[in-house]
Symmetry: C2
Subunit: 356 residues, 2 copies
Amino acid sequence: MLDWIDNYDERDWQTTTDGTVRYALLGLGWWTIDVALPAIESSDLGEVTTLVSSSTEKAQRLAEENGVDHGINYDEFHDGAVSDAYDAVYVGTPNAYHLEYVETAADLDKAVLCEKPMEATIDRASRMVDVCETADVPLMIAYRMHTDPAVRRAKELIDDGFIGEPVSVYGNNSQPLLEMIPDPDQWRLDPDLSGYGTSVMDLGIYSINTTRYLLERDPVAVQSQMSSHHDAFADVPDERSAALLVLEDDVKMVTTDSQNAHEDTNLKITGTEGQIEFQPAFHGQVELRLSRNDLSVTIEHEAFDAEREMEEEFDYFANRVLTDGEIYADGRHGLTDMRIIRALHEAAESGDVVEL
Amino acid sequence: MLDWIDNYDERDWQTTTDGTVRYALLGLGWWTIDVALPAIESSDLGEVTTLVSSSTEKAQRLAEENGVDHGINYDEFHDGAVSDAYDAVYVGTPNAYHLEYVETAADLDKAVLCEKPMEATIDRASRMVDVCETADVPLMIAYRMHTDPAVRRAKELIDDGFIGEPVSVYGNNSQPLLEMIPDPDQWRLDPDLSGYGTSVMDLGIYSINTTRYLLERDPVAVQSQMSSHHDAFADVPDERSAALLVLEDDVKMVTTDSQNAHEDTNLKITGTEGQIEFQPAFHGQVELRLSRNDLSVTIEHEAFDAEREMEEEFDYFANRVLTDGEIYADGRHGLTDMRIIRALHEAAESGDVVEL
């Protein structure tokens, strides 16, 4: 137990402490500037040298404010401006713009860390995988939960049999999007930019992907219900959604997600012998509860928040790029999520079980 | 707040403190003897005068051990033995035996408190309702969560708008049945005695019914997945199950249940403005968590356990019988649960959305 606590945030993936990956950041919204940029600056193996935005002026102003060398616009990026100044790109734009920036990055022989969901549609996500494989550049999809120490230690416990055989999973990810970003025209509510919808693409993906990581089991059949009521959600099918997924080995998973509800993030995996629960799971400081027999343990750790998860994620990515190592959440891993999300939308439309 | 805390376990349903309902208890398993009987003895308005079992010997032995006047067997019960000694029956037998005892109780003009699910099949449940309506005897289905103070105060908060508009519901009820009752031939695993199955009939009914009570909304469409793996579950379809239910007003509900998993009972209702969660919800000492805006409150109360819930339930029932008052969870309320459970089994078999 002492050993387990002392090693709680150990980076079991780390194979080098030498070298630096220099980043260009694309898509300068609050997440990139307030979370990703400071996470890279606190990381061991990363450094931000370039900011890329729609206008040179905005990019240069933010570069100056944040002590970054270069600020360029997207056209300049596509033309290869200052491409000697960075080794990798972090793509944090709206979903439907990911592909075009990854295409250019691949042309420029840069490694790619692309936010999730990887694109707006499965066809575009597929092209992203092809482009990076053809150019032989590393592509990682930014699933920050994979490098959260709470999630990694939970996976160790699951692998060691802590919960026995997994039986059921519950995930919820809900937030009041219009209170957080009071703009009914924001990109997450525009299917041309977000893709198949909003609550599963943006929120449900956390429950699904974190479960895939923890259990190493993918969904094989899904059912779903989606609906929109509020005017701001008129163009997307899933202001609120619920799903029933059967994973490999007959694990039953249920999820609920909403972009217009009280904030709650929760992931719970119940097995024949025990249970592992994260609540909050995906926002704020993650709290992990372990139960087995009559005993319950609650674990809190300052490392479990989004910025620290991102710091871990950037160092994991940099480590892989510097050592030419295999990337866990590569493009094909992200593509599977896209297939699952599309299947959930098909299931909601048809009412049928959609098999994967 | 002070007022709310001081009045936490108040019986807002109580209209009399006078009178006594004398009970005959049918089905002398551990629940009846260890929970129901002491609950009646601690209650204000109830008294146990008669125990009914398969053998006179067992009934009389248990009557003697528990200071109860009469012990009779089922044949004697059907013949009206000692029927002057009791005013009401509590039916705690396996599901498929409920109807025959309720029929005799109705013949004898006795009030009926019948355990949930009310019978093994919807046809038999329907006959129970007819029999009691024709005989004009009170029929209540024993949903103990309805009189749990935590559940009642949560309902007040929901009615007052604490969670805003309800958006989603999650319920889980899982337990290791074969560890609790190490007999593969027990009645809960025999569809002739349990009915449509085991995990939804015996466990899932808690999430579904408590949500119906709290939100005053019934399911209108359901989807479901069920499966059995362990040998002891060969005759029932649902060692484990998961469901997706759409309730009135488009509330999305998901549930998981298993008779062969780590014990966990959890009910969570998320609205546009807040959240109410019970965990544990249906066993042990219920803990209630309220969240709204950035505030979370956890409420614990010694009153929230099964025996106390049963005491409240027996006094509620006695109150209604003594005052000829309307019963909330009457036979028709229970019949709706039977329709929902049957629909879930149909949905699991077909893979289709089943409408109610």
